[in-house]
């Protein structure tokens, strides 16, 4: 039987997301889905879920949940969020069995804007147009099309027999989620011809900073002037994930998970999907650079990253509930009580 997760507290912008709402782009329907697909997949794959299972997308606002009735296997990953089980700090990416008396909390850490909490089997909220992904602007998906709040109860679907594999709590060794300030790869087009070669040169030569105008729909950056060679009011065409629009203010607006499927500003290029997760993890005030690559290079990078993430299950190391200095430090820092069970090893069958 599937378990339930009860929400005790959810910061603004915490939503249910799955692989996204597909098949309705032509009707103006936003695909939604996770902001950082790499972290979302990592959490799901650690539980043996597929890459479409609904999970909780935790924003910098944080989250506090507990397990109702029966124990529930969950996994989390993304950014450097600080996760605690009943006060005890856990690794930033891990798979654990949450017991009914335990409280799991997430708080934004030293970097990152989104983390994912997945449950074995996936959360079973009512699908709308084939997806559980929340799109708040149109009020569909998740729970009543809104962000989560205290009192929400999220049922987990019954997992397939044996899908999780081994029965041990684990650290997820996911180096692809480490902080990486390397430039974001960009494939030029389809309207790069709206900009002079000098302007395009500037775009790749200088750093940009993420402004506070950043949400699930788009990230607005500020940096050098990206002037249009001619007008900026083009006849609308399609919009793909990571499109770098340059509207009238000549500053990049990068379209993210909640983008509209069509739009009318020139698109200089697209951030490679392999780098979308890293971009999603930027916080306002942080800066970044861009590097031009061919579509073929972006494709190779994407396939390589997907292959790596697909092996998440082979990168689980038993989570030993030993006190590390880091955890002691964290525990002391918050003045929390250290669980006496914490020094006990959990069963690892490696």
């Amino acid at each position: 039987m599937g378990g339930h997760l009860g929400v005790l507290r959810a910061g603004p912008g915490v939503t249910i997301q799955d692989g996204g709402r597909h098949g309705y782009l032509r009707y103006g329907v936003t695909p939604a889905g996770p902001m950082d697909w790499t972290a979302y997949r990592t959490a799901n794959f650690a539980l043996g879920n597929d890459d479409r299972a609904a999970a909780i997308e935790v924003s910098a606002g944080g989250l506090e949940v507990h397990c109702e009735n029966a124990p529930l296997w969950v996994a989390f990953a993304g950014g450097a969020f600080v996760w605690r089980r009943s006060g005890v700090v856990l690794p930033r990416a891990a798979r654990i069995r949450l017991e009914p008396s335990e409280i799991l909390t997430a708080r934004a850490g030293e970097f990152g804007a989104f983390a994912y909490l997945a449950a074995e089997g996936g959360f079973d909220t009512p699908p709308v147009m084939g997806s559980r992904a929340t799109h708040m602007r149109s009020g569909i998906g998740g729970i009543e099309g809104r962000m989560l709040r205290a009192g929400d109860v999220l049922p987990a679907a019954v997992p397939a027999a044996g899908q999780r594999g081994e029965n041990f709590e684990a650290i997820i060794d996911a180096p692809w989620l480490d902080r990486d300030s390397g430039p974001f790869r960009v494939v030029l087009g389809p309207q790069d011809d709206c900009f002079s070669p000098e302007t395009l040169g500037d775009f790749f030569a200088y750093a940009f900073t993420l402004t506070p105008i950043a949400d699930r729909m788009a990230y607005r950056l500020t940096g050098p002037d990206i002037a249009h060679a001619r007008g900026y009011d083009i006849v609308s065409d399609g919009i793909a994930l990571g499109a770098i629009q340059i509207p009238g203010d000549r500053q990049p607006l990068i379209l993210m998970a909640d983008r509209q499927p069509t739009g009318g500003y020139p698109k200089l290029g697209h951030v490679a999907r392999a780098d979308i997760g890293r971009l999603a993890q930027l916080r306002p005030g942080e800066s970044c650079r861009f590097r031009a690559v061919s579509a073929a290079e972006a494709r190779t990078a994407l396939l390589a990253l997907e292959d790596e993430i697909a092996k998440t299950h082979q990168r689980l190391r038993p989570l030993r509930r030993a006190l590390t200095s880091e955890r002691l430090f964290e525990s002391n820092l918050i003045g929390g009580v250290v669980d006496p069970l914490d020094s006990e090893e959990t069963g690892g069958e490696f």
Binding site: H22, G23, Y24, L25, R26, Y27, G28, V29, T30, V128, M129, R137, S138, G139, I140, V187, L188, G189, P190, I234, V235, S236, D237, G238, I239, A240, L241, G242, A243, Q260, P261, T262, G263, K267, G269, H270, V271, A272, R273, A295, A296, A298, R299, L302, L303, E306
Partner: protein, 243 residues
């Protein structure tokens, strides 16, 4: 045979097939013909297509198909496919231009220096083509607005216009599916729900379909609103096979 389009990358997972840069029924016909051909051909790795005014966006799964393979497959489609005359519907949509549903008509009348009745006659008498959806689920972008009704977008968006608002700006017309702040002008309103996720048929018109408006009074609007709320379509649909 379709004119040769431009193939433009939109990242590594989408391709833009562009037939032009303007709003033109002939360009749109090419977009729709290619869309129909792509759907029929069932090309491996293609996940979704989005027809717009001037291009077809093809979303694909890079693991299953590369852009080069996809372009080769599309080029062979172009060589064999005639502009396809797919079945087109004409939708008769009730429209109310009486207060309080004509919120911005006074502003439009002042800007265009045109009597209110003339604006209504022009808007209601035209035949429109569904060019694309966008902005939000179910927002229908229409071409075919009489040129006399051309008015620039507002410099500052107005407060949200209610669902079903009939909007005009920049020489185009739009049917709104939900309340959104907008730079357009609301001159009337339909009780029809053009988007209802609770219905089996979530959306009404297909891209390329025709739309005309049939004038109703305020009482009819209220009655039809109740019926639409209960899940009725409240529209008349005609089949027009050839365009």
């Amino acid at each position: 045979m379709l004119p040769k389009p431009l193939y433009l990358a939109a990242g590594e997972s989408a391709l833009v097939v562009e037939f032009g840069a303007t709003i033109d029924p002939n360009i749109h016909d090419c977009v729709l013909a290619l869309d129909a051909a792509v759907q029929r051909a069932n090309i491996d790795g293609v996940t979704e297509t989005v027809p717009t005014y001037r291009s077809l966006m093809i979303h694909f799964e890079p693991r299953r198909v590369s852009a080069e393979t996809l372009i080769a497959a599309l080029a062979s489609l172009d060589a064999t496919a005639k502009p396809e005359r797919t079945r087109v519907h004409r939708w008769h949509i009730p429209a109310c231009y009486d207060p309080p549903h004509d919120e911005d008509i006074t502003e439009v009348a002042a800007f265009l220096n045109m009597p209110r009745a003339k604006i209504i006659d022009l808007h209601q008498g035209a035949r429109y083509r569904v060019y694309m959806y966008g902005f939000a689920p179910g927002f229908i972008f229409l071409g075919g607005l009489p040129p006399e009704l051309t008015i620039p977008r507002r410099a500052v968006p107005r407060a949200p216009a209610p669902p079903g608002s009939l909007l005009i700006a920049a020489g185009q017309a739009l049917i709104a599916s939900c309340a959104m702040p907008t730079g357009w002008y609301a001159i009337g309103r339909t009780p029809v729900k053009v988007f209802d996720p609770k219905r089996t048929q979530i959306f009404l018109a297909g891209i390329g379909d025709e739309i005309c408006f049939e004038r109703i009074d305020g009482d009819t609007f209220d009655a039809l609103s109740l019926a639409a709320e209960a899940g009725e379509f409240c529209v008349r649909r005609e089949n027009i096979d050839e365009r």
